[in-house]
Symmetry: D2
Amino acid sequence: MPDNALHSAVVEAEGHLIDSQILNTIFDTVIERGGQFEVLHFEIGRTNDEFSRLRLKVSSPAAESLQRTLEELMPLGCRAVEDQDALLKTADRDGSVPDDFYSTTNLRTEVRIGGRWQPVARQRMDGVIVVDAQGPTCRKLREVKQGDRVVCGLAGLRVAPEFRDRERSDFAFMSNEVSSERRVEASVTRIAAMIRETKARGGRVVFVPGPVVIHTGGGPYFIDLIRNGYVDAILAGNALAVHDAEQALFGTSLGVDLEAGVPVQGGHRHHMRAINAINRAGGLRGAVESGVLTSGVMVECIRAGVEYVLAGSIRDDGPILDTVTDINEAQDRYADVLASAAMVIVLSTMLHGIGVGNMLPAWVPVVCVDINPAVVTKLADRGSSQTIGLVTDVGLFLHQLAKRLA
Amino acid sequence: MPDNALHSAVVEAEGHLIDSQILNTIFDTVIERGGQFEVLHFEIGRTNDEFSRLRLKVSSPAAESLQRTLEELMPLGCRAVEDQDALLKTADRDGSVPDDFYSTTNLRTEVRIGGRWQPVARQRMDGVIVVDAQGPTCRKLREVKQGDRVVCGLAGLRVAPEFRDRERSDFAFMSNEVSSERRVEASVTRIAAMIRETKARGGRVVFVPGPVVIHTGGGPYFIDLIRNGYVDAILAGNALAVHDAEQALFGTSLGVDLEAGVPVQGGHRHHMRAINAINRAGGLRGAVESGVLTSGVMVECIRAGVEYVLAGSIRDDGPILDTVTDINEAQDRYADVLASAAMVIVLSTMLHGIGVGNMLPAWVPVVCVDINPAVVTKLADRGSSQTIGLVTDVGLFLHQLAKRLA
Amino acid sequence: MPDNALHSAVVEAEGHLIDSQILNTIFDTVIERGGQFEVLHFEIGRTNDEFSRLRLKVSSPAAESLQRTLEELMPLGCRAVEDQDALLKTADRDGSVPDDFYSTTNLRTEVRIGGRWQPVARQRMDGVIVVDAQGPTCRKLREVKQGDRVVCGLAGLRVAPEFRDRERSDFAFMSNEVSSERRVEASVTRIAAMIRETKARGGRVVFVPGPVVIHTGGGPYFIDLIRNGYVDAILAGNALAVHDAEQALFGTSLGVDLEAGVPVQGGHRHHMRAINAINRAGGLRGAVESGVLTSGVMVECIRAGVEYVLAGSIRDDGPILDTVTDINEAQDRYADVLASAAMVIVLSTMLHGIGVGNMLPAWVPVVCVDINPAVVTKLADRGSSQTIGLVTDVGLFLHQLAKRLA
Amino acid sequence: MPDNALHSAVVEAEGHLIDSQILNTIFDTVIERGGQFEVLHFEIGRTNDEFSRLRLKVSSPAAESLQRTLEELMPLGCRAVEDQDALLKTADRDGSVPDDFYSTTNLRTEVRIGGRWQPVARQRMDGVIVVDAQGPTCRKLREVKQGDRVVCGLAGLRVAPEFRDRERSDFAFMSNEVSSERRVEASVTRIAAMIRETKARGGRVVFVPGPVVIHTGGGPYFIDLIRNGYVDAILAGNALAVHDAEQALFGTSLGVDLEAGVPVQGGHRHHMRAINAINRAGGLRGAVESGVLTSGVMVECIRAGVEYVLAGSIRDDGPILDTVTDINEAQDRYADVLASAAMVIVLSTMLHGIGVGNMLPAWVPVVCVDINPAVVTKLADRGSSQTIGLVTDVGLFLHQLAKRLA
């Protein structure tokens, strides 16, 4: 293929390019896309602290594939050498945008407007960037209004990949692969330390617990965490509150007696009685105030003023009145809570875990605990280099965690 | 404990009590509940066709535990010897019922009203029974209106357990345990025959496909099933339609090229472009009519007039305009479709599979296909003795099924 | 099919036939085999304590299928009405038997010889019964010698199924299904009680630990069990000892630092150094005596006089000199240890767990702990109604167990 | 820490250092080991084809940790700048070596002897290097004889990491992560092409099938592969042959009827009858010659002259006479077959798959097919960058593969 038949562009990147497999991925991307690359300049960081600097010529057989390649290089920190302003187009109707809209990643992004680079607010993945007087902001497609100015194409965009920080004590710990054949106690100690540090510097810790927390007997330990101030908010579903109330009212969870560890025949109807009792009281707060509910995770949340959002799902029984049944509203309320999260801990819930992962910027660390390695792998794969996966029994995990945070 | 200190009651049951482990479970239930039993009369079916008849005295140390035991014996077909009318109480507010309401199972149930046994309509589990001029009907808690007459207590209720039918050719097949170490091709042949028989007698076959159907390349085979008239309705989520459209528009599914089997870097944004394209066209039907979407599972559904309901979830991107974002409404629309289902096939989706399982009466056979044995076990455990679980690759399963139904 | 064309036989059974699903399975077996049954007499146990009694006529279209059906009914406790002596044939060469040999189950079996019923010694599944002057004994095929008299056919055989005992406190606990969504702490308490009871009545507790015990940090807790006298013997593989020694010598297990929880690059070679060190010392005992090894599970076993057998496998590194590399010899030595076992606890090893399960009679309870539900299901399925499966993290399980047995 | 307190060394590496994450791993290794690095020189490959060149100063707080770090850098291709001969020490007894022996990786290794770099023969991981008149060779510890000269320390050793080859068509395919949510048919097409190419250039394809191949109905398709000449050797266990013979003689596999897909009660004894029949005939070859066995995978192997080795395990029934019951001998015979393997395909057997993985040099591609993602991950993790993992039903996989290789 004669070189002059190729379309090409020159991009630059800098940072810890060797770490985090960024340089490697840049080269892979070009080759996988059918292109070629030529390193025009590479200056390696001499030590662990120093940045590396890359200037790369990327060539592609067609203009379109070059454009796609450049788009894919962007989240790796590659930007055009010569600066341009971003291309803004106007949305012609609510909830949709021009075809060439820029779809966001969860990485820190800047937009060049009027010659000035401005950071994007509320960064999340799979959003669009709307620019108004306050500057550029991530929006979900459905939030776009007719007349909004939306960033299109790739010009005037700069994305900063998350570099792994080899100096942090948890560097090696966090690059662990998912495995059920590890000593969990060492990991719990690290996670407890991370929670402590996060709280010490004023950060908010958000928990995303599935109902398995209750089934596996983790409830009392989770309550310890709430009482000791380690839980700033809970994002969950209807089932967490229902099984928590079932446990409080009948001593069973999904019909299984938690003390005896055996199923109570007919106990599967307990959760319907719990739902009826809560809704008769006008919801969880009413049930607490009227004395219908006197113990359990949700009671402790209400007493301690811990914020909670319960999102509905197609498999809900009831639901209780507190559950947000409209998914768009539930997503908005989750996102509001996560906007101030400094650390997120997902406990045995793939559904809510993925939901939360979609909303978070890449720099908020996520701990994901599940006994099923497939769930941990799936959550850890979703973009963030800062997800810590732990394959273990969530009830025993909470026991260990509460002990370390007592 | 002196026998005269015990509370006791006499119940009767008849049917294939030895099969389906019903007699066994009756005895277990009494013992687990701390009670005692005495067989007053037992007449065994002499052959495979004949019914057995049981009259049993159940004793319990307390009136309350006796009541609970009797409640648990009810879904096993045990009924009081002397007939009474059901106790009806009036709901004092919308969406909630008296504390002693009867919580339904998914088994055929009759209510005695004015001395006459009447069958319950729209049978499903975890419902309440409301009695009006049309007779008794299953309702969800949230559907109860102030003033509705609701069945409470256990009097005047009769439940018919599903007996396994040893005469049916698929008897042995359907009592299989879940295992990934089985020859799938034999199972596919059986399932194809069941689908054919269902259609031949005018029954509706409802599919519940997860997006993994698309990721694993099952799309074209599923389309064959649609074209050949084997798909009467689809109950799914937003992701099915999104990844189907992504595949139609970009040749990828979750960013993976289906032909080459390799991830396309940056392909993860294709699904956002697909969502935008559909919503710009006003939804799926608009996208088909305007020529934006010309192929894929949803296109075939629309062309063939196959009913579909897409339920929203907290992890949705978009969603597309067709997605029912309110969970209560989505449940209602699922339930409407399932009201006429004669057979249900769940393909790689635990979320929607459990949702559907909650809504179905026990006599509708459910086939559940998933590569993860835990999902199959979980769905098979939910009450119906007629769930067939198959642990296999869903793409290859659809290939085999479409071949047999060509 | 005219009834007079059928071949038929009459069998009897007695015991807790309703429990343990025995009556149900008897009927199923006849139907699945293409036969018919007629209940000639059935007398139900009036209470939980009383036996039931069955007399059943079994018919089959052919003599051969009748014979097969009767063979399958035998482990369900069905025996011929009229007594005959067992048919003994002579083995014509070492290691093989006549084609119609009786293949044993793991249930209590009696053989009628010279008009007298005699119990079979060393009961295990998949054996043959050899009769000599001492009476009938289970042998493996390869142990049969030319000239041995071997039980053939079905005459003169009586098998006693294990009845579930509803009176035992752990009845409900032991009939639990396998699930990772249970509260483990309740189960650990039960298992600890069972171990205590077993020891109190002088029974031997045999542990079958996989190397995951070491990887997950369970080593120190397992050592507590050894020191407190709860471990009578260990049946394991080469890897347990190797990773235990690696941990003792280098602080890593499979190259992962147990304290820090992170992989040590290059640490994968530690296990080879451990093997070399042990073998230079002439094996484990030599390594303990010479001070090469001073801590770890194997050291504690040797100091406490706990019997151990390490079986070789195709994936072994080394192996260390203690490992029994011939599989037949390893099986024999396992079986010798198990001959006196009153309780067996399998910790995260499918390979050795299945091996042990094959050797045990049905009345020795087996506890199987694994984080992978598929392993627990597979072990629980292998014939014994007394297997207790627990899906949890084995390191945390041992921590909890050691605490309860301190 | 003053630089002059540090111990340091200078190493060099060259090759595709950016690819395969080698440069990244070099830096990580130094930092994780508590050391520091300084890049003295780095010359990046300008294009995809060109090599990169690195000269790196590594510093460590202690001589011992420096030595360990250098040892860990060796499999990454880092070698000392100034050449030395290897240090050879004499083994003082059979089966063991000096404490500072060099433990091999599965990568191409050269040893400098008398100033000349010589390649190591029979490269495998976890071996030692013995030098004799023929040059350096990998040996297992147990093969070392008193008086052998063994490579110790790190001097005079050069290891060549496997570089990923981005030019090969299967580059992107082979860097896939393990997932059950992929289209298997695309992967089967690739694997079929790899097998064809391997055979076309005269390479031997070795299969490692577990008994699940038989249970899942893959037998007939595997026989097609044998008949079409795609199977050069089989490495398996006793169970493969036993269940294959059970299927040939009784139509069941582990007691499950393969045509009907249902368990045959009592069928679990069929495998004992199969073992007895084979051993009466003096083993598999005798059974084929005498007409006892006339169909099945093993029959086809014998007829087609396909080499096979059956390794024993603690869970074997029988075993049949062909099974190699001594593990050391079985490993030796596996290794002999693998010495000439150009491609290895592992089908649903973790035990034998790991055994084989331990014996292979890094440059032989391994395909691993299993329905359990944990098994695929575990096998893929064991050192070779060239393992292709496929999570799917092995029976359906073989159907697809046989179709493509017909």
